[in-house]
Amino acid sequence: MSQIRRLKTGGRVDRSTPLEFSFNGESYVGFLGDTLASALLANGVDKVGRSFKYFRPRGILGSGAEEPNAIVQLESNGISTPNLRATEVELVEGLSARSVTDMGRTRIRRIASRFTSLMPVGFYYKTLIRPKATWNVGEKLIRQAAGLGTVFSNSDPDIYDKYHHHCDVLVVGAGAAGLTAALAAAELGLRVIVADEQSEYGGWLLSTSRELDAAPAVSWIDQIVASLHARPNVILLSRTTIFGLYDHGLAMGCERLTGCTTSAHGVPRERLHQIRAQQVVLATGALERPLTFANNDLPGIMLPSAVLTYLNRYAVAVGAELVLATTNDQAYEAAFAWHDVGLKVVAICDMRSDIPLELISACDTREIPVFREHTVVEARGSKRVAEATVVPLSVDKHNIAGKGHKLTCDVLATSTGWNPVIHLNAHTRTMARWDEKEVAFLLDSQSPDIASAGAINGARTLAACMREGVAAIQKLRSLVDVEIEFPLPQIDETSPARCAKFFKAPHPRLDNRAPKQFVDFQLDVTVADIQLAVREGYRTIEHVKRYTALGFGNDQGKLGNVNGINVLADATGTSIGDIGTTVFRPPYTPVTFGAIGGRSVGELFDPERLTPMHQWHVDYGAEWENVGQWKRPWYYAIAGESMQDAVNREVLAARNDVAVLDASTLGKIDVQGRDAAVFIDRMYSNTFANLRVGRCRYGLMLRDTGMIFDDGVTARLDKDHFLVHTTTGNAEPVLSWLELWHQTEWSELDVRLTSVTDQWATVAVVGPKSRRVLGKLCPEVNLSNESFPFMSVQTVQLEQTEARIFRVSFSGELSYEINVPAQYGLSLWERVLEIGEPFGITPYGTETMHVLRAEKGFIIAGQDTDGSMTPVDMNLSWCVRKTNDVDFVGRRSLNLSDYQRTDRLQLVGLETRDSLVVLPEGGQLLSKPTKKQPAAMQGFVTSAYFSATLDRSIALAMVKGGLLRIGDTLHCALYDGSFVEASVVSSVFFDPDNLAQKVDFESDTFGVKPSELGLSSSASTVRETNDEASGRDAGVTLRAWRGYRIFTLVGSTVDDPDLSGQAGFSEILPLEPCTWNSVDNAKFCWLGPSRWLMLERFDEEEYEPLDLPSDVVSNVGFLDTTGAYAVFSLTGTSVNELLKKSCPFDFHESVFSSQSCVQSTFAKANALVVARGDDGVDLLVRRSFADYVVRWIEDASEEFGFRHNF
């Protein structure tokens, strides 16, 4: 029979929408509006699981987050989610659930349950300790039996999402208190977010029988919710559990959008809401507390609040004959409602002597027997409760005072009061205070930006909850004296009497001889367990918790902790207040990893930076090396080559002919200003002030500790204009480092720093024939050693764009690094390969780059150095200024006595005795092969390769006193215990006299005018994506800009930024932070003090460069950074939703106006977001991030409908 316990009328379920579902393999039918728990109860399912340790049958006990027994695993569409409370799982068609405690490993547990008397509390701490080996056996068995549910091992096909929110007031909980607080805040015009964990708003109002304004409570809820929905300043989030309150008003909530089943059409299954709230109202209510008595875990024993909720909200009578045991007035409502639908109330046992008269008369009217000063001491029944033993209590309530009655029943509801849900407040490091009058842990203190209202404060009537809701807003906004216009409804209720302090029924037998009296149902912790823990010496609740597992389940003691604390207080002769609570930590209820991960999984896990030539590398079959966030070609295997074969071929091409490397990822920092040279001299260990314009110099950047931080070539482009190169991975840290010193220590220097890494694409043409390739590429340039010497730079015109050609070398070969604005990068790369083809030009990747540099003994900062190496250690003392005239960062430290030790680790080369064996990087070096420990470490290998040039293995290593140990033999310890013998040699293996990179002019290769280069500009590096129309309206449209110019404008960092009020200046360049001005087709965006970005859009044909006033031009440096950015327009009705997903900034109109521009994180990359003024925003991202950001936008927009137009 279907739904045998469903009432014919009433409730919030939709009887016209039946939903089929299955539980433990059986099929059932429930209704729309049911939870899994209410549907199971409607179908008369008593047993929903078995207890963890004792294997006892368990039924549903509660109706919300407190439920300890009905823990289920959901299965749908091949995915499986463990650890869900059936009381919180909304019923959907086809839902399939299993109880986690009935799964798989039941056999072991069933057997183990027979021996439970031999498994006292602390069993694992006491047994399987000696001999050691028993644990190895025991652990396997325990592991098989342990745990609730099974983890889904395939990848999760569902979509998860995140939103960033900002609001004035966050109201947690939408019951009577929360709804009134929300409405009061909304009335004040505040930005309000209301979050409630249930599918419907109303909280307790959905359960109660009381009427508001002489109408069912739901009509009041509907009216308030409709009013809130209608306001643009209110966001309502149902099915959203605020699970944590963090620093600075950050609240985290998880919204369940698709009812725990798989998602469709881009609608995420769950959405994590990161809410930055100025102020928070906690209206989280309270959870009812059960009585502790013998066999209190039988199915059919429930909380009165759950009985009432199932009856009124879900129209489910959980049984036929009810016995209620209570210590308070509120629980009577369940018995009265039970009676009023025509069910039998066997009796009410109230342990109090002073039961309010109106309750007595209400019971008399209904002819419900009341047992005054009685309680339930034991329940009986096999599969469900069948009988309750009710006894009279002594005056002090500690003892049984007479003969009891046995009452037949199938529902036993027990209540000892309410536990306010103070968890979120406790997350802000405030403690709870035991209140003897309210018999509850209440908030002890509160941050001034948090207020609480309703049952969380112990409020006992709906009217009091509503008044507190309004008062909470008045308190937070300091408007205590201000009337907030608010018609509170009339409610027919009397203020209930106080709850009596009574948690555990006495039993005729000793607690450890009586039937089990459960405190923690989920982990089977009993009264006797806690008493045993006390006898064994545990006194504090935190220790008892860990010893007995009290409160360790996924309910985290919501139901049983106060009862447990009471048992502990009794056993230790202290009071509940002395014991206190355990620390509440987030999350309030379990959160899926999917929600925490959001869409940052798979391809979108972390931003990928791509060079402008990326697609070519893909097409050419490159293998990839991740360098920071960059994707760099590692090597190109042709026709089934092994990696070593490919690298050997690439190395020999560079040494013998010509090879080409995409070096675009190299960090580049533009340094300008009249003190640029002074500044660079202080930041590098060698001198740059005397560097001639057009020349380059290798420099070492030290920390002030004297340790090498970075290295690279710096070029002087003009008297006050330098270009600093950094290693790929250090581009950002070096810029920050330079900014730190400039802004904090030497702010009197006029220095303007701009990252131009993304602006330039770099093609390194390397090898003895590289000059011939260059000669064809730019025949008008004199490439002789005299006019274009080693370590110099020239700016040449390559068709419509300027190129900077650096004659530098990271390989020891003749080499030119050609830099063009990034939009010309791919075109140049293809052209160089075409021109170089007759010379056998070979593209190579990072592995070959490493081999080439290691052959020359060139270090890589971060690979050969680890932050503890000085220039002397690295045999680079030639790079340190010897004169005393300039103090540079790190200088003083180089004189520290410890740095003069001759046994410091120093850079040397190693040659293995067997020339084919390549040492492992990181391998430890010993003087002699020994397995004795500890062995005296002589150093370690930092780089090791097979050198095709030398046809042998080579390695760089840090060796103690290594510079004086050339010729020594060392032994490298391998993982398998063997050793490799190697001799210490110079770190320069190839061409120690640097002849190769200076090879002379070869006249025969010139005089050939090349055909048109045919360089072309590409707008961005974005991969083409599928633009299939989805048939839906596009909520987000993405357009990539084609014709635009971007200049970074940098003013003096010393002079007054407003240039002493020169007319016209501020009308063009905004001085107001985070705003833009426009002139014709150009927007000038504020980036920082004395720093702007000029974004000029044009159609190719009609382009006329903007004519700027002379005072702007003469006072501000213009840096063409067109290539450094990709520009997109985002338009459509859902752009704001997309921004909420991508960016933590608050795009509300009160913060982000039509004249605003803001730099922030966007999808974990950085972006400049510029208001378009009409619809949507323009988005500027650094070019290398563009592909990733577009893929993110496409993915995140799917649920709104997405269209792009490149």
Partner: protein, 98 residues
């Protein structure tokens, strides 16, 4: 996660946008060569690490790329004051802190 007021962008932003550089008001000695190894070592390595109020330099890495000072309570994470580089922490000065 902290919410930090940037005194240059004049708005409150997420901690993700910033980078904490370390203790503020560590002045580099004017004449390093005149210091003993010990004195120089103290400048390099010794920091106060207090429980309670701590003066720190933060860098608005993702935003305006400016460094500024933050007075933060290391116990409660409360940010008491935000002030520009070069300014002294002064109780009488106008508070920029949010």
């Amino acid at each position: 996660m902290l919410r930090i007021y940037c005194p240059y962008c004049e708005s409150v932003r997420d901690e993700d946008e910033f980078h904490c550089v370390g203790e503020a008001h560590i002045n580099r000695p004017a004449n390093p060569e005149e210091l003993s190894d010990q004195e120089w070592g103290e400048y390099l390595h010794f920091r106060t690490n207090p429980r309670g109020e701590h003066r720190e330099i933060w860098h608005h890495t993702v935003g305006c790329r400016q460094h500024f000072n933050v007075l933060r309570d290391t116990e409660t994470y409360e940010i008491r004051r935000v002030y520009r580089i070069g300014d002294e922490l002064n109780a009488d000065a106008d508070a920029d802190a949010d």
